[in-house]
């Protein structure tokens, strides 16, 4: 078996601990981390823990199990940092942060890469209150965006459902970005740097597209052509 300390690295941060994991199998890493905690319980008592999992792909049940294990040791998991979009999405679904105060160099690279606006994140469910999705590309939702949910995309946002939450397309300044929705009553809408005030009484029925024309966001009924 690998040496424990080579599997799991623990550093102090300004507001807690940062645990960096290697790319060994997940079960081994989890066991190694929990073992280290059980060996030095006083060090970990009441700690706020951020986890850097590298390129590991983690699903909900794995992350929930670890969080519960940690909480039984009186340790709060508040953030999971990862290079894998799947893992980041999992963390966001569970309401964990995916950025810690000091951004990692790889992360900025990920954001400024030339894949910008070429990739899309597909979300096959309704986004409920408290969910925040941030993506360096387009976002497509097959479902509703409920009040209290938030989408920030560097590209377009397409919602095949009802838009009731807050959306920001072209978040890095792309003025050609659009927001499309089948039913349109957002709490907030921003395209690039331009925000719109949504007036409840001026609701447009049916599919809608919002985009920038003459430095202002216009909301129009979707025209089939």
């Amino acid at each position: 078996m690998n040496d424990l300390h080579s599997l799991v690295q623990i550093k102090g941060l300004r507001d807690g601990l940062l645990v960096s994991l290697t790319d060994a199998p997940w079960e081994e890493l989890q066991a190694a981390l929990l073992l280290q905690m059980d060996q030095q319980p006083s060090f970990f008592q009441g700690a706020r823990l951020a986890l850097d999992v590298g390129a590991q792909i983690l699903h909900v049940n794995e992350m929930v199990e670890l969080r519960d294990q940690l909480s039984e040791r009186n340790v709060v998991l508040w953030a999971v940092v990862s290079e894998s979009p799947t893992t980041e999405q999992t963390a966001q679904l569970l309401g964990l942060a995916t950025r810690i105060s000091k951004p990692r160099p790889e992360e900025t690279h990920f954001n400024s890469g030339d894949q910008n606006n070429e990739t899309a994140l597909f979300i096959n469910k309704t986004l409920r209150s408290g969910t925040r999705v941030e993506f360096p590309g387009h976002v497509v939702v097959l479902g509703d965006v409920n009040p209290g949910a938030e989408i920030v995309a560097e590209g377009n946002i397409i919602i095949w459902g009802k838009l009731r939450g807050a959306v920001h397309a072209g978040s890095k300044g792309d003025g050609n970005s659009k927001v499309c929705a089948l039913d349109f009553a957002p709490m907030q809408l921003k395209v690039s740097e331009e925000a719109v005030n949504i007036k409840k009484e001026k609701q447009i029925l049916g599919p809608v597209v919002a985009f920038i024309r003459n430095e202002r966001v216009v909301v129009e009924s979707w025209k089939f052509s």
Binding site: N61, D68, E72, R128, G130, P147
Partner: protein, 266 residues
């Protein structure tokens, strides 16, 4: 037998979680099921008050977890229904005295000797809520027809979906048909439209519920109360029976058909 563990949750406080647990428990016990209620609100217990068992508490759930008594000793038998038990919460401790795996362990121990285990979740989405949903086979999300309660219910449903729990069912509590008619209250359809989950019951506003809670005799024992009827219907739906939804007042027909269609019941 293997019990079904049902957690009642809401996010927002004061929408009727505790009342719903007490009433569903009584309704199930009246149908002959063996029911154990667990108060998950450590530090702010009140399921015992609503069930009228306050003065019988000797041991509580934290005593069980910390090994000061056996599980059986903490189970308080109801005054009228011999198959209804309550495991009270501790009043002098906080939520951190219990962990999700403690709750799972207790429920697994109870599963063999009961038909239903009902857990009363505390308000909020923190530790106490996590404890309450950890052992659940099924979660009922309860809400009032108010924007803020619906918003919190939406958040709770999102968390339950993210944790890949069995899809929750919705209870709309304290619906006032007259206010809905005047467009001063969200209708059941409005709530369902936003939350988009299966509806398991609508409980009308009824003063008898408050009176019953204060007296420690849940209203589902009262055959005349409309809210009691609604709770009894939910209990039967929990048992897998098909029960038609009650019509409130003289509302236009076809509404319930539409609701049932929206939620996949026909």
């Amino acid at each position: 037998m293997t019990a079904q563990v049902v957690t009642i949750s809401s996010g927002k406080g004061g929408v009727g979680k505790t009342t719903a647990v007490a009433n569903l428990a009584v309704a199930l016990a009246m149908e002959g099921d063996k029911v154990v209620c667990i108060d998950g609100d450590i530090g702010l217990r009140n399921l015992d008050v609503v069930m009228g068992l306050e003065n019988r508490i000797v041991y509580d759930i934290v005593d069980v977890i910390e090994g000061r008594c056996k599980l059986r000793q903490a189970m308080i038998r109801d005054k009228h229904l011999p198959e209804l038990y309550l495991i009270p919460a501790a009043q002098t401790r906080d939520k951190n005295a219990v962990s999700p795996s403690d709750m799972k362990r207790i429920c697994d121990e109870l599963r063999l000797s009961a038909d239903f285990i009902l857990i009363d979740s505390p308000a909020g989405i923190e530790r106490g809520f996590r404890n309450a949903i950890a052992p659940a086979d099924r979660v009922l999300v309860i809400t009032n027809p108010e924007v803020s309660a619906v918003r919190d219910a939406d958040r709770v449903i999102g968390i339950l979906e993210a944790e890949e729990k069995h899809s929750p069912a919705l209870v709309i509590n304290r619906l006032n048909p007259d206010l809905v008619k005047q467009h001063d209250m969200l209708s059941a359809e409005d709530v369902l439209d936003l939350l988009g989950i299966q509806l398991i019951g609508i409980v009308p506003e009824d003063e008898a519920v408050i009176v019953g809670s204060n007296r420690g005799t849940p209203v589902s024992q009262d055959p005349k109360s409309r809210a009691g009827q609604a709770f009894r219907n939910i209990a039967r739906r929990l048992k897998g029976q098909e029960v038609p939804f009650i019509e409130f007042g003289n509302r236009q027909s076809g509404l319930w058909d539409r609701i049932q269609k929206m939620t996949g019941r026909r």
